[in-house]
Symmetry: none
Subunit: 123 residues, 2 copies
């Protein structure tokens, strides 16, 4: 279904472009598809994902909408929102969210967390 992530382990995105690219691949969209929805040209999206250009907030909003995510999340990733100092930084969002999920059983939670930790390479 989806192509392999080249380069292997370590998906920590160094920039906004990496973030957008990972979100786009997660949504199984090609560059031209996402560019069409976000109303930008596909070469420009290419440059943005490669970190060559930093898109304006308007474009950022369109991309966020196209990826079904809130504009705030996008702006936060772009570093445009960091004036509010009080951010409730729960360290591991995944484990926290899993533990709080009301639809999972205890065993299912343990399974997911175990898989998650194995992916991170720590026991």
């Amino acid at each position: 279904m989806s192509d392999d992530e080249k380069g292997g382990a370590g998906a920590a995105w160094r920039s906004l472009g990496d973030f957008i690219r990972s979100q786009r691949e997660l949504a199984n969209l090609s560059m031209r598809q996402l560019a069409e929805i976000a109303k930008i040209s596909n070469p420009y999206l290419s440059q943005v994902e490669r970190g060559l250009y930093k898109p304006s907030a308007d474009v950022l909003k369109n991309i966020a909408n196209a990826l079904h995510m809130s504009a705030e999340t996008m702006y936060a990733q772009a570093g445009l929102l960091d004036d509010s100092p009080d951010r409730d930084e729960s360290h591991h969002g995944v484990e926290h969210a899993v533990k709080l999920d009301p639809l999972l059983t205890v065993d299912q939670k343990e399974t997911i967390i175990r898989i998650y930790r194995s992916f991170l390479g720590r026991e």
Copy 2:
């Protein structure tokens, strides 16, 4: 794009420029003072307040900080925040946290999300 934002029901400000100008005057700051604090040139601030240019999110954030207001408020006034998010229940917890995790690869995220959905019974 839309240069005339009409139809804003009850909007006290015709445009973003008017909003900034009123906030600046409310803070008893001259253009040069605000421009200095916001790290932009005063002619540019003049153009912005007169609605000739639409500032980037970066500048918007600086102006908001200089006026001691949150960047979100500024973005909302600039019309950069009014996305229409579908109220998808998958956005709430686990899937959202997984997608935003910076340490997982795209494939790992897809794996975890697939397991999570299978646990919920909705493939």
